[in-house]
Protein backbone atom coordinates (compact mmCIF):
# COMPACT_ATOMS: atom_id res chain seq x y z
CA UNK A 1 0.00 0.00 0.00
CA UNK A 2 1.71 3.17 -1.11
CA UNK A 3 0.64 6.76 -0.75
CA UNK A 4 2.39 9.37 -2.85
CA UNK A 5 2.45 13.09 -2.05
CA UNK A 6 4.03 15.71 -4.28
CA UNK A 7 5.86 18.34 -2.21
CA UNK A 8 6.64 21.75 -3.72
CA UNK A 9 8.81 24.21 -1.79
CA UNK A 10 7.93 27.73 -2.92
CA UNK A 11 9.21 31.20 -2.19
CA UNK A 12 7.60 34.06 -4.16
CA UNK A 13 6.58 31.77 -7.02
CA UNK A 14 3.18 33.43 -7.55
CA UNK A 15 3.83 33.65 -11.30
CA UNK A 16 4.30 29.90 -11.83
CA UNK A 17 2.98 27.98 -8.86
CA UNK A 18 -0.60 27.79 -10.15
CA UNK A 19 0.45 26.04 -13.36
CA UNK A 20 2.75 23.61 -11.56
CA UNK A 21 0.07 22.64 -9.01
CA UNK A 22 -2.55 22.19 -11.77
CA UNK A 23 -0.26 19.85 -13.72
CA UNK A 24 0.43 17.79 -10.58
CA UNK A 25 -3.28 17.60 -9.71
CA UNK A 26 -4.15 16.59 -13.27
CA UNK A 27 -1.75 13.68 -12.84
CA UNK A 28 -3.96 12.56 -9.94
CA UNK A 29 -1.48 13.23 -7.14
CA UNK A 30 -1.98 14.86 -3.77
CA UNK A 31 -0.01 18.09 -3.69
CA UNK A 32 1.48 19.94 -0.73
CA UNK A 33 2.98 23.38 -1.28
CA UNK A 34 5.28 24.66 1.46
CA UNK A 35 5.14 28.44 1.30
CA UNK A 36 8.51 29.61 2.64
CA UNK A 37 7.21 32.94 4.02
CA UNK A 38 6.53 34.38 0.56
CA UNK A 39 5.77 38.07 0.19
CA UNK A 40 3.47 37.54 -2.79
CA UNK A 41 0.24 35.56 -3.26
CA UNK A 42 1.96 32.17 -3.66
CA UNK A 43 -0.10 30.54 -0.89
CA UNK A 44 -3.51 31.73 -2.14
CA UNK A 45 -2.77 30.81 -5.75
CA UNK A 46 -1.52 27.35 -4.78
CA UNK A 47 -4.59 26.76 -2.62
CA UNK A 48 -6.95 27.78 -5.43
CA UNK A 49 -5.12 25.42 -7.79
CA UNK A 50 -5.88 22.54 -5.43
CA UNK A 51 -2.83 22.18 -3.20
CA UNK A 52 -2.68 21.75 0.57
CA UNK A 53 -0.61 24.75 1.64
CA UNK A 54 1.68 24.91 4.67
CA UNK A 55 2.78 28.43 5.47
CA UNK A 56 6.10 28.79 7.25
CA UNK A 57 6.08 31.84 9.55
CA UNK A 58 9.73 32.65 8.72
CA UNK A 59 11.87 31.97 5.68
CA UNK A 60 13.78 28.72 6.24
CA UNK A 61 15.26 28.15 2.78
CA UNK A 62 14.60 25.25 0.40
CA UNK A 63 15.87 22.57 2.80
CA UNK A 64 13.80 23.96 5.68
CA UNK A 65 10.67 24.06 3.54
CA UNK A 66 11.33 20.53 2.32
CA UNK A 67 11.74 19.07 5.78
CA UNK A 68 8.43 20.65 6.81
CA UNK A 69 6.85 19.14 3.68
CA UNK A 70 8.34 15.68 4.36
CA UNK A 71 7.14 15.85 7.96
CA UNK A 72 3.63 16.77 6.85
CA UNK A 73 3.58 13.96 4.27
CA UNK A 74 4.81 11.35 6.75
CA UNK A 75 2.34 12.53 9.42
CA UNK A 76 -0.45 12.07 6.86
CA UNK A 77 0.49 8.50 6.07
CA UNK A 78 2.57 8.98 2.91
CA UNK A 79 5.46 6.61 2.26
CA UNK A 80 6.64 8.25 -0.96
CA UNK A 81 7.26 11.90 -1.77
CA UNK A 82 8.02 13.46 -5.12
CA UNK A 83 9.76 16.78 -4.80
CA UNK A 84 9.12 19.33 -7.56
CA UNK A 85 10.31 22.94 -7.90
CA UNK A 86 7.68 25.68 -7.85
CA UNK A 87 9.18 27.66 -10.73
CA UNK A 88 7.98 25.40 -13.52
CA UNK A 89 11.37 24.12 -14.69
CA UNK A 90 10.58 20.54 -13.73
CA UNK A 91 8.34 18.51 -16.02
CA UNK A 92 5.55 17.57 -13.60
CA UNK A 93 4.22 15.24 -16.33
CA UNK A 94 7.24 13.01 -15.67
CA UNK A 95 6.43 12.31 -12.00
CA UNK A 96 5.16 8.90 -13.08
CA UNK A 97 8.52 8.12 -14.70
CA UNK A 98 10.35 8.80 -11.41
CA UNK A 99 7.91 6.60 -9.48
CA UNK A 100 8.15 3.76 -11.99
CA UNK A 101 11.92 3.79 -11.72
CA UNK A 102 11.71 3.82 -7.91
CA UNK A 103 9.61 0.64 -8.00
CA UNK A 104 11.50 -1.10 -10.78
CA UNK A 105 14.90 -0.70 -9.12
CA UNK A 106 13.71 -1.14 -5.50
CA UNK A 107 15.39 2.20 -4.82
CA UNK A 108 15.13 4.62 -1.90
CA UNK A 109 15.53 7.72 -4.06
CA UNK A 110 15.39 8.56 -7.76
CA UNK A 111 16.83 11.81 -9.09
CA UNK A 112 15.55 13.38 -12.32
CA UNK A 113 18.72 14.23 -14.24
CA UNK A 114 19.21 16.85 -16.93
CA UNK A 115 22.59 15.41 -17.86
CA UNK A 116 21.89 11.68 -18.06
CA UNK A 117 21.68 10.41 -21.67
CA UNK A 118 18.26 11.44 -22.96
CA UNK A 119 17.87 14.32 -20.50
CA UNK A 120 17.83 17.98 -21.47
CA UNK A 121 17.96 21.43 -19.91
CA UNK A 122 18.00 25.09 -20.73
CA UNK A 123 21.56 26.15 -21.66
CA UNK A 124 23.81 26.34 -18.58
CA UNK A 125 26.70 28.75 -18.10
CA UNK A 126 30.15 27.14 -18.21
CA UNK A 127 31.08 27.74 -14.53
CA UNK A 128 27.75 26.27 -13.52
CA UNK A 129 28.25 23.21 -15.66
CA UNK A 130 31.80 22.79 -14.29
CA UNK A 131 30.59 23.14 -10.70
CA UNK A 132 27.95 20.45 -11.25
CA UNK A 133 30.60 18.13 -12.72
CA UNK A 134 32.88 18.65 -9.73
CA UNK A 135 30.00 17.90 -7.34
CA UNK A 136 29.08 14.81 -9.32
CA UNK A 137 32.66 13.49 -9.19
CA UNK A 138 32.95 14.23 -5.46
CA UNK A 139 29.71 12.39 -4.87
CA UNK A 140 30.92 9.34 -6.78
CA UNK A 141 34.30 9.21 -5.03
CA UNK A 142 33.20 10.09 -1.52
CA UNK A 143 29.66 8.77 -1.35
CA UNK A 144 29.75 5.91 -3.82
CA UNK A 145 26.75 7.34 -5.67
CA UNK A 146 26.75 7.91 -9.43
CA UNK A 147 24.42 10.81 -10.16
CA UNK A 148 25.12 13.05 -13.16
CA UNK A 149 22.93 15.89 -11.83
CA UNK A 150 23.49 16.18 -8.04
CA UNK A 151 21.87 19.62 -7.79
CA UNK A 152 18.57 18.48 -9.26
CA UNK A 153 15.57 19.18 -7.04
CA UNK A 154 13.28 16.87 -9.01
CA UNK A 155 13.32 13.67 -6.98
CA UNK A 156 11.24 10.81 -5.67
CA UNK A 157 12.02 9.65 -2.13
CA UNK A 158 10.56 6.64 -0.37
CA UNK A 159 10.53 5.18 3.12
CA UNK A 160 12.65 4.51 5.11
CA UNK A 161 14.68 7.39 3.63
CA UNK A 162 11.63 9.68 3.63
CA UNK A 163 11.01 9.27 7.36
CA UNK A 164 14.72 9.81 8.01
CA UNK A 165 14.64 13.04 5.96
CA UNK A 166 11.53 14.21 7.81
CA UNK A 167 13.66 14.34 10.97
CA UNK A 168 17.11 15.20 9.63
CA UNK A 169 17.50 17.44 6.65
CA UNK A 170 20.02 20.23 6.07
CA UNK A 171 18.65 23.69 5.30
CA UNK A 172 21.59 25.51 3.73
CA UNK A 173 22.03 25.93 -0.02
CA UNK A 174 23.33 22.71 -1.69
CA UNK A 175 22.69 20.92 1.61
CA UNK A 176 19.28 19.72 0.49
CA UNK A 177 20.67 18.39 -2.80
CA UNK A 178 24.36 17.47 -2.82
CA UNK A 179 24.88 16.83 0.88
CA UNK A 180 21.64 14.88 1.24
CA UNK A 181 22.75 12.58 -1.60
CA UNK A 182 26.22 12.18 -0.10
CA UNK A 183 24.96 11.22 3.36
CA UNK A 184 22.23 8.93 1.99
CA UNK A 185 24.79 7.19 -0.23
CA UNK A 186 27.25 6.70 2.61
CA UNK A 187 24.54 5.32 4.86
CA UNK A 188 23.68 2.62 2.36
CA UNK A 189 20.48 3.98 0.79
CA UNK A 190 20.03 3.02 -2.86
CA UNK A 191 19.87 5.96 -5.24
CA UNK A 192 19.26 5.99 -8.97
CA UNK A 193 18.59 8.52 -11.70
CA UNK A 194 16.39 8.91 -14.75
CA UNK A 195 16.87 11.38 -17.61
CA UNK A 196 14.36 14.25 -17.64
CA UNK A 197 13.88 17.27 -19.86
CA UNK A 198 13.93 20.45 -17.79
CA UNK A 199 12.83 23.85 -19.01
CA UNK A 200 14.16 27.29 -18.15
CA UNK A 201 12.55 28.69 -15.01
CA UNK A 202 9.15 30.13 -15.95
CA UNK A 203 9.41 33.10 -13.57
CA UNK A 204 10.45 34.14 -10.06
CA UNK A 205 14.01 34.53 -8.83
CA UNK A 206 16.83 31.93 -8.59
CA UNK A 207 17.31 30.85 -4.99
CA UNK A 208 20.97 31.89 -4.78
CA UNK A 209 23.01 34.72 -6.27
CA UNK A 210 26.62 34.23 -7.37
CA UNK A 211 28.45 34.99 -4.08
CA UNK A 212 26.12 32.65 -2.19
CA UNK A 213 26.67 29.97 -4.83
CA UNK A 214 30.44 30.24 -4.53
CA UNK A 215 30.28 30.04 -0.73
CA UNK A 216 27.93 27.08 -0.90
CA UNK A 217 30.23 25.37 -3.39
CA UNK A 218 33.24 25.82 -1.08
CA UNK A 219 31.29 24.43 1.83
CA UNK A 220 29.99 21.50 -0.22
CA UNK A 221 33.51 20.60 -1.28
CA UNK A 222 34.88 20.66 2.27
CA UNK A 223 32.04 18.47 3.51
CA UNK A 224 33.70 15.16 2.62
CA UNK A 225 36.65 16.18 4.79
CA UNK A 226 35.04 18.11 7.65
CA UNK A 227 32.07 15.80 7.99
CA UNK A 228 28.47 16.52 7.07
CA UNK A 229 26.15 18.93 8.82
CA UNK A 230 23.62 16.17 9.44
CA UNK A 231 23.40 12.41 9.63
CA UNK A 232 20.93 9.64 8.87
CA UNK A 233 20.34 6.27 10.49
CA UNK A 234 22.03 3.53 8.42
CA UNK A 235 19.81 1.69 5.92
CA UNK A 236 18.54 -1.47 7.60
Amino acid sequence: MTKVVVVIPAFDEGACIGGVVSTVRMGGYECTVVDDASTDRTAEIAEQAGAVVIRLPINLGVGGALRAGFRHAVDNGADTVVQVDGDGQHPAEQIGTLLKHLDAGHLDMVVGSRFAPGGASAPQSNPRRAAIRVLSTTLRRRGGVSISDPTSGFRAIRDPLLTAFATNFPHHYLGDTFEALLVAGRRGYKIGEVPVEMRARQGGQPSAALPASVRAMLRALTVPFTGCSFDLPPRA
Partner: protein, 100 residues
Protein backbone atom coordinates in the same frame (compact mmCIF):
# COMPACT_ATOMS: atom_id res chain seq x y z
CA UNK B 1 31.55 44.02 36.54
CA UNK B 2 28.99 46.57 37.70
CA UNK B 3 27.75 46.84 34.10
CA UNK B 4 27.31 43.07 33.93
CA UNK B 5 25.41 42.98 37.23
CA UNK B 6 23.25 45.88 36.04
CA UNK B 7 22.42 44.09 32.79
CA UNK B 8 21.46 40.97 34.72
CA UNK B 9 19.20 42.91 37.04
CA UNK B 10 17.47 44.47 34.05
CA UNK B 11 17.08 40.90 32.69
CA UNK B 12 19.04 41.65 29.54
CA UNK B 13 21.47 38.87 30.43
CA UNK B 14 20.69 35.40 31.71
CA UNK B 15 22.55 34.13 34.78
CA UNK B 16 24.54 31.74 32.63
CA UNK B 17 26.23 34.54 30.71
CA UNK B 18 26.54 36.72 33.81
CA UNK B 19 28.63 34.04 35.47
CA UNK B 20 30.75 33.64 32.34
CA UNK B 21 31.50 37.34 32.00
CA UNK B 22 32.12 37.78 35.74
CA UNK B 23 34.56 34.86 35.50
CA UNK B 24 36.37 36.56 32.64
CA UNK B 25 36.53 39.81 34.62
CA UNK B 26 37.88 37.98 37.65
CA UNK B 27 40.54 36.19 35.59
CA UNK B 28 41.77 39.39 33.94
CA UNK B 29 41.79 41.19 37.33
CA UNK B 30 43.71 38.27 38.81
CA UNK B 31 46.26 38.43 36.01
CA UNK B 32 46.62 42.19 36.56
CA UNK B 33 47.14 41.73 40.30
CA UNK B 34 49.78 39.09 39.79
CA UNK B 35 51.73 41.15 37.29
CA UNK B 36 55.13 40.09 38.75
CA UNK B 37 54.23 36.46 38.09
CA UNK B 38 52.86 37.36 34.65
CA UNK B 39 56.16 39.12 34.05
CA UNK B 40 58.03 35.90 34.84
CA UNK B 41 55.84 34.04 32.35
CA UNK B 42 56.71 36.69 29.79
CA UNK B 43 60.42 36.31 30.40
CA UNK B 44 60.21 32.60 29.64
CA UNK B 45 58.63 33.37 26.27
CA UNK B 46 60.76 36.52 25.86
CA UNK B 47 57.78 38.95 25.60
CA UNK B 48 56.74 41.90 27.77
CA UNK B 49 54.24 41.42 30.66
CA UNK B 50 51.74 43.67 28.85
CA UNK B 51 51.86 41.38 25.83
CA UNK B 52 51.16 38.36 28.07
CA UNK B 53 48.15 40.14 29.55
CA UNK B 54 46.89 41.06 26.07
CA UNK B 55 47.37 37.52 24.92
CA UNK B 56 45.38 36.10 27.83
CA UNK B 57 42.54 38.59 27.26
CA UNK B 58 42.35 37.91 23.54
CA UNK B 59 42.29 34.15 24.10
CA UNK B 60 39.42 34.62 26.55
CA UNK B 61 37.52 36.79 24.07
CA UNK B 62 38.11 34.19 21.35
CA UNK B 63 36.72 31.47 23.61
CA UNK B 64 33.64 33.59 24.34
CA UNK B 65 32.92 34.27 20.68
CA UNK B 66 33.25 30.60 19.79
CA UNK B 67 30.87 29.75 22.61
CA UNK B 68 28.40 32.35 21.33
CA UNK B 69 28.61 30.94 17.79
CA UNK B 70 27.78 27.51 19.18
CA UNK B 71 24.79 28.96 21.04
CA UNK B 72 23.55 30.76 17.91
CA UNK B 73 23.83 27.58 15.81
CA UNK B 74 21.81 25.67 18.38
CA UNK B 75 19.21 28.43 18.52
CA UNK B 76 18.91 28.45 14.70
CA UNK B 77 18.13 24.74 14.71
CA UNK B 78 15.58 25.17 17.49
CA UNK B 79 13.98 28.12 15.72
CA UNK B 80 13.71 26.05 12.56
CA UNK B 81 12.05 23.14 14.36
CA UNK B 82 9.67 25.51 16.14
CA UNK B 83 8.74 27.32 12.91
CA UNK B 84 8.05 23.97 11.28
CA UNK B 85 5.85 22.77 14.15
CA UNK B 86 4.01 26.12 14.12
CA UNK B 87 3.30 25.84 10.37
CA UNK B 88 2.02 22.26 10.66
CA UNK B 89 -0.22 23.16 13.61
CA UNK B 90 -1.58 26.22 11.79
CA UNK B 91 -2.53 23.93 8.89
CA UNK B 92 -4.38 21.56 11.24
CA UNK B 93 -6.19 24.40 12.97
CA UNK B 94 -7.46 25.90 9.73
CA UNK B 95 -8.56 22.44 8.55
CA UNK B 96 -10.56 22.06 11.78
CA UNK B 97 -12.05 25.54 11.49
CA UNK B 98 -13.24 25.00 7.93
CA UNK B 99 -17.06 24.59 8.00
CA UNK B 100 -18.00 20.98 7.33
Amino acid sequence: MLVILGLTRRRLLTTRYTLGWLGVGALVALAAMTMPFVGQLGKVANITPTAVLLMISSLLLLAISIQLSISVSLLQERLRTTAEAHALLARRVSDLERPA
